[in-house]
Amino acid sequence: MPTTLLELRGVGKVFGGTVALSATSLAIEEGSFVAIVGPSGCGKSTMFNIIAGLVAPDGGDVVLRGATITATTGHVGYMLQKDLLVPWRTVEDNITMATRLTRRVTDEDRAEARRVARQYGLGEFLRHYPSALSGGMRQRVAFMRTLVTHHELLLLDEPFGALDAQTRLEMQEWLLQVWKDTGRTVLFITHDVDESIFLSDRIVVMSPRPGRVVADLANPLARPRGIHTLLEPDFIALKAKVLGLLHGGAA
């Protein structure tokens, strides 16, 4: 019986009369990779902001490893489509930025940042400022910043949404590698169905007006995954199913 890391118990949010997220319950297993897919306005970012503690839900609770963390921050790793690297810090100092925001950065923190950067292909850029990096490299730095916070749960909100298709595929494979190495639990928002299937163990499909979960699908595709995965019959079948859910049974 796998352990539940995160549990949403009937959390919902109304913004000015619009139901951004209707009361939602969801349990996320430790170490799993869960994709949340849906069109804009389906409440996926609201759900993330509630889990991160940025938005207080109208009702319900957010429970992380048995402890209620509703409307409190500092419990999860969090990454957006915008890398949010600060231009005045080097790559190394950007990786330790989350630490710097809560306490003094130690030599161990720096050493870890360098180790992670070297391990995942950014060792040569530790002293560079972010302005010198490409979009894909910047997202890697942003992800490492998320990683070294040592939070078990990582919330990734369309982190590769702004990258070109080629770079995006590279980043997806890279992310799967890091996920496998570190054993973290990932909650990954995307509107790209292919991406949600390629990455996840499980796909939560959401729908707008009102924002809600409409399906929760297990992803049977074997790991490790690669470009070949995109052509497997299981992949196509799952894609047809998700597209059908998103577009009202069109498939």
Partner: protein, 268 residues
Amino acid sequence: MRRRVLLNVGVPILSLVLVLVVWQLIVVGFHVASYIAPRPREAITSVTSQWSTLWPLILGTIRETIYGYVIGAALGFVLGVVMAKIAIVQRLVYPVILVSQAVPVIALAPVLVIILGFGIVPKIVIVTWIVFFPVTVNVLDGLGHVDPDLKNLARVYGASRWRTFVQIEVPASTTPLFSGLKIGAIYAVTGAIIGELAASEGNSLALYQEHANSNLNTAAVYGTTMVMTLIGIAWFLLVVGLEIWSTPWQRRTVARRRWRRGSDGGAG
């Protein structure tokens, strides 16, 4: 690198030399009498020949400028921060500081003399008065435009307001902050000279120029003006230098060694 230095230093110097050349051509070409406008060389000589008299006066003006500028910049920064952070303070204070800047400083000077007497204090107050405003406005503007997503990220990581301010908001506002500091630097000397005109009983650069003027020593009037201008430009360049030194990321792709405390790695 050499080409960049040439462009950034050589061209501005060349343009200033051109101003002197045009000045010379106008005076000579139109046969302007030297009591109306001296030649550049005469203006410069009027300064160098009186250097031992002028130097203490120049130091006095520089002192007033520095004191007033540092106080004004610090006050401006603090005021900008407090106004950005506390909405009611902003509503209360903004009209007052706008009015303070609408008051002609020349008209203000005699009032300051009445209150503060002669000496260095009224001059410092005038410089402060002029300098704080662009700093406040730019800091207020800069802090108001920090990326809200970046502030949210800091919140998600559990950052305190203080750490968010120091680590995110202040460095994100350096460009507007230095805009304010540079505008202030250029006007600071003007403030000091206005103060000297209104509130000097003994010697000052401004009074030296007034004496030269009443003695029809036009060359010295021009020369003193050049000296005042040079003080202003030197001060401005100092602030520009401070900006370049403190914001290496705006020109460099790789950090210098001293910017990475405790690092040992990175082939860079």
